[in-house]
């Protein structure tokens, strides 16, 4: 697997990939996360770089270490990540969306209609 986003250092991209694994529950709380060697092989990078990706999650206390066994997902990690994304990701995107709508003279009503349409297309309503 190759990571492509050239703007971010590889280890940050690996950290982001791991966060999505946790959010999408491919690794549950107290589940074992990939080792730096597994990540190195998966992403074709040096194990030290892969280790840095893990360290980011460890420092955010999303992972914990068991000596000799590896790293595991902290209880509540998924919820904290989702909250973080809600705060940063969605809020920022909604603000940008509203700004763009103003530039294009789209009314609040029209924008809400577009959002409803998008929901219907996604089959979530």
């Amino acid at each position: 697997m190759q990571l492509q986003d050239g703007q971010l250092p590889i280890y940050v991209q690996i950290a982001q990939w791991l966060e999505i694994e946790i959010i999408e529950q491919r690794i549950e709380a107290h589940g074992k996360i990939f080792s730096q060697y597994q990540l190195a092989e998966k992403f074709n990078v040096n194990p030290a770089t892969a280790g840095k990706g893990l360290t980011i999650l460890l420092e955010k206390e999303l992972l914990y270490k068991k000596r000799g066994l590896g790293m595991f997902v902290m209880e509540g990690a998924r919820e904290r990540l989702m909250e973080e994304r809600l705060q940063h990701g969605i809020n920022e995107q909604v603000t940008a969306l509203v700004e763009e709508a103003r530039r294009l003279n789209i009314s609040k009503k029209q924008l809400l209609q577009l959002i409803e349409q998008a929901f219907r297309k996604g089959g979530n309503e």
Binding site: G6, Q7, P9, Y11, N44, V45, N46, P47, A48, T49
Partner: protein, 288 residues
């Protein structure tokens, strides 16, 4: 593992390396880069014990490197100009390797040579440039030598097989961590594999760092050149644009409110080793 202390090397009258110091103590994937003629190959052959430094000391695995059997059986050095005995087929060369190197991995050499479809009955001289590189790299990995020196291991290998060869190197390193030093001009293809980078320039090691830290040590600013130079006079100018968005490289420790961009290890290496003599466009320019 490898210690070069105050190493100088003269070849004829030319000083290739001067007062060079390099210390690597752990198994790692290290990239050795430098512009043409920077002395990469000379440094590698000193570490492999094929040559004596003019002055200074090269120690490999706690012993003086030059002409030491112990260093020889624990070191492998491949490079684009190497030769193997002309009367031996690839299969016989591997058998010879297995006799010399105690940890020779027959399974690995057999599987890789079959996978890459190298003609085992032919001699090394009969191979194409790319196949020579592949064979030499597979040979080097199969030795499992504690110190593995790969000088341009991907030399001449076609685009389609290059990424596979990089993966071979990484997977074998993961399975059997050991010191691998890779000299290459293809830093952009290679940099993700590396843990450390060593840059040779002006006859010395000017950088020896973790490669992620190296890339993070500088950033690119975008903006108005005069303002950026006012904020950091030593900024390295990399692009002057007629539209007012010039680009410079500065240490990431400098704070300023210009648009910032990350820089890759390859770009930073190129800027840091550039000779300041204008650009190729100046050569073709008709202006007097």
């Amino acid at each position: 593992m490898i210690h070069c202390e105050h190493v100088s090397k003269k070849i004829g009258r030319k000083v290739v390396l001067q007062e060079l110091n390099l210390h690597i103590d752990e198994p790692k994937l290290v990239g050795l880069v430098g512009r043409n003629g920077a002395g990469k190959s000379t440094l590698m052959s000193l570490i492999a014990g094929l040559e004596l430094p003019t002055t200074g000391r090269v120690t490999v695995l706690e012993r003086p490197a030059f002409d030491q059997l112990y260093v020889a059986v624990n070191t492998v050095y491949i490079h684009p100009n190497m030769t193997f005995p002309t009367h031996l087929s690839l299969r016989e060369i591997c058998q010879m390797g297995a006799q010399f190197y105690m940890n020779w991995d027959c399974t690995l050499s057999d599987k890789l040579l079959a996978y890459f479809e190298l003609p085992m009955h032919q001699t090394f001289q009969q191979l194409s440039t790319g196949m020579k590189s592949m064979f030499a790299t597979i040979f080097a990995l199969s030795t499992r030598a504690a110190v593995t020196l790969l000088d341009e291991p991907i030399n001449g290998i076609d685009e389609g097989l290059r990424s596979e060869m990089y993966r071979v190197i990484l997977k074998d390193y993961l399975a059997h961590p050991r010191l691998m030093i890779i000299a290459s001009h293809l830093l952009d293809e290679l940099e993700h594999l590396l843990e450390e980078i060593v840059i040779l320039h002006d006859r010395q090691v000017i950088v020896h760092k973790n490669i992620d830290d190296f890339a993070a040590s500088h950033v690119i600013w975008e903006g108005d050149l005069s303002k950026m130079l006012a904020a950091y006079p030593d900024a390295l100018i990399i692009e002057r644009s007629p539209f007012g968005t010039d680009r410079v490289v500065v240490p990431s420790s400098v704070t300023a409110s210009f648009t910032q961009q990350a820089i890759s290890a390859k770009e930073l290496y190129l800027y840091q080793t550039a000779e300041k003599k204008g650009t190729i466009d100046d050569v073709f320019s008709n202006d007097e």
